[in-house]
């Protein structure tokens, strides 16, 4: 170690005579708190693999005596889980695509086209994203009935394309407001149409923002509850959250069945979180929040 490095090391906060005990205490508390926060996940996972007899004999805190999949089997007889999973993927996937499409188009009109009254359009759309679904639910229920889309995923898909799209428009319009004008001008001089400029110039530049938005649209739609629970009464159309809520309302369910069901249902979300962890935490802090 050179002298310079030594001096630097000595002057670092760590070596300034702070009691190291406090560091130990703080870290211990931080870790203990993390254990508390994670324990529901761990307990759910652990109890999913127990037999009913094992659970009632040893309680929820003991490790499973033997690996047992009967709880999963029981859960899968109560719920058509593959269908619910497919409905969740279908709804979230189509809403993500549709929401991105209409928000890119609308934001193009606002941010690049600089249409009249754009400030008002953005303000109205932002407020639209905050309207509680409670105030829309009955008319939408009525409308879904009238268009025979009640109890089908299509009512939910169309509704959330618009709701997510309103937020996306607000966000993208802000981003496009600072879009480099020279790029647009150069393309115009070359004779490109507005449509061509959108897809060849604007969208490629927006791609990073769009991918963050896509991750959020997907997970928000996956988690939606109020409108879907009203509109998706039929089990063939239900997403995972709605299927779980319906199940809980209908039966008294054994405890291990609940844990196995929770485990299966949280698995896709946790996998999604692990894949997109960076996007999610950066996006939350960048103001892409709801």
């Amino acid at each position: 170690m050179t002298d310079k490095a030594l001096v630097h090391h000595l002057s670092a906060p760590r070596a300034k005579g702070r009691p190291r005990v406090s560091t130990v205490i703080v870290v211990t508390l931080g870790v203990a708190f993390a254990v508390v926060m994670l324990s529901p996940f761990l307990l759910v996972a652990m109890n999913s693999f127990k037999s009913n007899a094992d659970y009632s004999a040893n309680g929820p805190l003991a490790l499973p005596k033997a690996l047992d999949l009967s709880a999963f089997e029981r859960f899968l007889t109560l719920i058509d889980f593959p269908t619910a999973l497919w409905n969740s993927v279908l709804v979230s996937g189509l809403v993500t695509l549709g929401g991105l499409l209409i928000s890119v188009l609308a934001a193009y009109a606002i941010g690049i086209g600089r249409i009249k009254a754009r400030t008002w359009v953005v303000a109205v759309l932002l407020i639209a994203t905050m309207v509680p679904q409670e105030a829309l639910v009955y008319p939408l229920f009525y409308g879904a009935q009238a268009t025979s889309t009640l109890n089908t995923v299509w009512s939910v898909i169309v509704i959330f394309i618009v709701i997510q799209g309103a937020y996306g428009t607000y966000l993208l319009a802000g981003v496009l407001g600072t879009f480099p004008k020279e790029l647009i001008e150069a393309a115009r001089v070359d004779g490109a149409s507005a449509w061509r400029i959108l897809w060849r110039v604007v969208v490629p530049v927006l791609r990073p923002t769009l991918s963050v938005l896509a991750v959020f649209f997907f997970i928000w739609t996956w988690n939606e509850f109020y409108l879907p629970v009203v509109l998706l009464g039929d089990s063939s159309s239900q997403t995972i959250p709605i299927a779980l809520a319906t199940l809980r309302g209908q039966h008294a369910i054994e405890q291990t069945t609940i844990t196995a069901g929770s485990f299966l249902s949280l698995l896709p979300t946790v996998i999604f979180f692990l894949i997109f962890q960076r996007t999610l935490s950066n996006g939350v802090t960048a103001g892409a929040i709801k």
Partner: protein, 313 residues
């Protein structure tokens, strides 16, 4: 100036022909969003106001005009007031506790754990606090129906193990149920302020903290003198966002208690739902949801005004 300028309204110079011809085309790009907004948000909102001025059982039944009658009835309805009292509990669980604890945790992770132990440990701890945030609220509710189960549920097993003689009947007792729901909501919400506040601390000029270190300021005095004032904008945004969330709590109530026992956990959102779909009192449900929408609108406008002022500064 040429004659063409005179014919332009307001005497403004005419727009270059290219831009003028492009205006209507740009409107076309807005059309899908505008149509969607009308059909999914604007018209339903107007219909909901219209419904709230009637007594109506829904479907083909007859609508009777009652003017503001439903709103007058609301003001005298003990369940309605109970639901808003319960919203205060939801505010404690979603706004007050997570924001305060989140401030402390973010500061501990950022100012103590990251510099003394390492960025990775801090990031791991932050991730574990954040994990519940990603769960669909219905899945969380389903999980917690087991955790809060009085006989053989996980929480009471833990309480018994540490020597609590008669652990509470979490979801079965009218005095306790709301606290059970609050526990779940605190667990669910906590990660959000931690992540926001930690990112905000990254924005603060590190030399401020270094100077305070040189002066021998303790962590606590750095927390109150530097961290809190610097984080004011984020605290405001987190508080308002969470406030809207607290007003909209629904899934945990539907899944865990159904508003019971004895109506002790009814919240506005659930009360509206019940009137719409269980009691067939559509007009009354519409009135409840309009009151909610109005409250949320006021909060949202407050947030917009604040953000505009913050960016103007």
């Amino acid at each position: 100036m040429t004659a063409s300028a005179v014919t332009t309204r307001g005497g403004r110079a005419p727009a270059p022909p290219r831009e003028r011809s492009e205006r209507p085309r740009y409107w076309a790009y807005l059309a899908p969003m505008a149509a969607g907004f009308l059909i999914i948000v604007a018209i339903p909102l107007v219909m909901n106001v219209w419904f709230s001025l009637h007594n109506w059982q829904g479907g083909a039944s007859e609508m009777t005009w009652v003017g503001l009658g439903n709103y007058v009835e609301l003001m005298q309805d003990p369940t309605f007031w109970q639901s808003f009292r319960n919203t205060l509990y939801m505010i404690v669980a979603i706004v007050v506790v997570p924001t305060l604890v989140g401030l402390l945790l973010a500061s501990v992770l950022f100012n103590l754990v990251a510099p003394r132990v390492g960025e990775r440990t801090a990031a791991f701890l932050r991730g574990s606090y954040y994990l519940p945030q990603i769960l669909p609220i219905a899945v969380a509710g389903f999980m917690w129906s087991w955790i809060l189960d009085t006989d053989g549920g996980a929480l009471n097993a833990v309480l018994t193990a540490i020597g609590v003689a008669s652990p509470p009947d979490w979801l079965g007792s009218a005095d306790v149920a709301i606290y059970g729901i609050m526990l779940m909501l605190i667990w669910l919400q906590l990660g959000y302020p931690v992540v926001i506040f930690m990112a905000a601390l990254g924005r603060v000029d590190p030399s401020i903290y270094e100077a305070a270190d040189v002066d021998g300021a303790s962590w606590w005095s750095q927390f109150t003198r530097i961290t809190l004032p610097e984080l004011k904008p984020e605290i405001f945004i987190v508080t308002l966002t969470a406030l809207v969330g607290a007003l909209k709590v629904f899934a945990p109530i539907l899944i865990l208690t159904g508003g019971g026992p004895e109506g002790s956990t009814v919240v506005p959102s659930y009360y509206a739902y019940r009137n719409f779909f269980e009691l067939s009192r559509v007009g009354y449900g519409a009135a409840i949801s309009n009151v909610m929408a109005l409250l949320i609108l006021v909060i949202a406008i407050g947030m917009l005004v604040f953000q505009r002022r913050a960016t103007d500064d």
